[in-house]
C-alpha cells in the first residue's frame, strides 16, 4: 500500500514541473518552425501545380491537338457553308468557324484548371 502511495506521489512530482523562464520563447520557436514548414509546403504544392500544368500543356501539344483543331475548323467551315445554302445565315456559326483562337483560349483555361485541381488534390493529401 505504501509502495503504491509512493509511486503515486512520484507521478505527481513528475507532473508538477515548474514553468521554465523562457517558456514563451520556446513556444514562439516551435511556432516559427511550424510556420516555416507550412510555407515550404505551400511553395512545394504551388510548384507541383505549375509542373502539373506544364505537363498537361505538353501532353495537349503532343497529342496532335493542332491537327485536330484544324480538322475541326475545316469541318465547321464545311458545315457552315452547307447551312448557309440551306438556311438563312447564322452569325454564331461564323463566330465558330473563325474560332481557332477560341479553341486555344479554351485549351489554356483547361490547363490552368488542371493546375488548380492538382494543387487542391495535393493540398488535401
Amino acid at each position: 500500500m505504501a509502495e503504491v502511495e509512493f509511486e503515486r506521489r512520484l507521478e505527481r512530482l513528475f507532473g508538477e514541473a515548474a514553468e521554465l523562464p523562457d517558456a514563451a520563447q520556446f513556444a514562439e520557436r516551435v511556432e516559427r518552425r511550424l510556420d516555416a514548414g507550412w510555407t515550404a509546403r505551400r511553395w512545394l504544392i504551388g510548384a507541383a501545380g505549375v509542373v502539373g500544368g506544364i505537363i498537361g500543356a505538353s501532353q495537349l501539344m503532343m497529342s496532335n491537338v493542332v491537327q485536330r483543331v484544324e480538322t475541326a475548323e475545316d469541318s465547321a467551315r464545311l458545315l457552315s457553308s452547307g447551312l448557309t445554302h440551306m438556311t438563312p445565315r447564322a452569325d454564331w456559326l461564323q463566330a465558330l468557324s473563325g474560332g481557332g483562337s477560341v479553341v486555344w483560349v479554351a485549351a489554356a483555361l483547361a490547363v490552368v484548371m488542371m493546375g488548380f485541381v492538382l494543387t487542391r488534390v495535393i493540398g488535401e493529401i
Binding site: F6, E7, L10, E11, L13, L20, A24, V30, E31, L34
Partner: protein, 194 residues
C-alpha cells in the same frame, strides 16, 4: 489579430485545441506548446538531456505531435502523449549517437557522487534524481514521468524487460530514501505495470 486569437484559444481545453489543430489551425497548437512546453522539456532534462539538447528534442517532439495530431484520440492527456513522443525521440537520439551504451557505465560514478548526499533533509525531485545512475534515472523517468510501461520502456531502450525492472526498482529504492527519509518506511517491490 494574433493576440485576440491567442486569448480565444487560451480558454479552450486541450482536446478542443487538438481538434482546432487537426483542422490546420497552427495558433491553437501554439497554445498547447505554451501550456506544456516546460513539462516536456523538464521531463527530458530529468532523463539526463542537457538544456539545449532537451529543447531540441522537445521541439522535434512537438512538431511530430503536430504532424500526427489526428492520432491523438484524447484517451490520455495531451501532455502525456507528447512526453512519450519526446522520451522515445530522446532515446532514438542517444542510440543514433551511440550514447545509450554509456548509460550503464555512468552509473557507478554518479552512485559514488550521490552516496555522500544530504540524506536527512527533504529535497525536491530534481535533486533526488541526481542520486540515481543514468540508466536508473532514464528508466524511472520513462515509467513515472512519461507514463510508459516497463515493457514499452524496455522496447524503447532495446534492453531486456528484467533489466529495466531492476533499474526501476533500484531507482525507486534510492528515491524513496531521498524523498521521504523522515518516514522511515522501507518499501520494497516494484511498479506492477510491466
Amino acid at each position: 489579430m494574433p493576440g485576440s486569437r491567442h486569448s480565444r484559444f487560451a480558454s479552450l481545453h486541450d482536446v478542443e485545441l487538438c481538434t482546432h489543430t487537426a483542422t490546420g489551425e497552427r495558433r491553437a497548437f501554439g497554445e498547447l506548446v505554451r501550456r506544456h512546453g516546460s513539462s516536456v522539456r523538464g521531463l527530458l532534462r530529468r532523463m539526463g538531456a542537457q538544456g539545449a539538447e532537451a529543447d531540441d528534442v522537445a521541439q522535434d517532439a512537438f512538431l511530430a505531435a503536430f504532424e500526427r495530431i489526428a492520432e491523438f484520440r484524447g484517451d490520455g492527456t495531451f501532455a502525456g502523449w507528447v512526453k512519450r513522443i519526446a522520451a522515445r525521440g530522446y532515446l532514438r537520439r542517444l542510440q543514433k549517437e551511440r550514447r545509450i551504451g554509456a548509460l550503464t557505465a555512468e552509473q557507478a560514478e554518479i552512485d559514488a557522487d550521490g552516496a555522500g548526499g544530504d540524506a536527512d533533509g527533504r529535497i525536491d525531485l530534481d535533486e533526488a534524481l541526481k542520486v540515481l545512475g543514468a540508466a536508473e534515472r532514464v528508466c524511472v523517468t520513462m515509467c513515472f514521468g512519461a507514463g510508459l510501461s516497463h515493457q514499452e520502456a524496455a522496447d524503447a531502450l532495446n534492453l531486456p524487460l528484467g533489466t529495466v525492472k531492476s533499474h526501476v526498482k533500484r531507482g525507486l529504492d534510492k528515491l524513496r530514501t531521498r524523498l521521504a527519509p523522515a518516514d522511515g518506511v522501507a518499501m520494497e517491490g516494484r511498479r506492477g505495470n510491466g
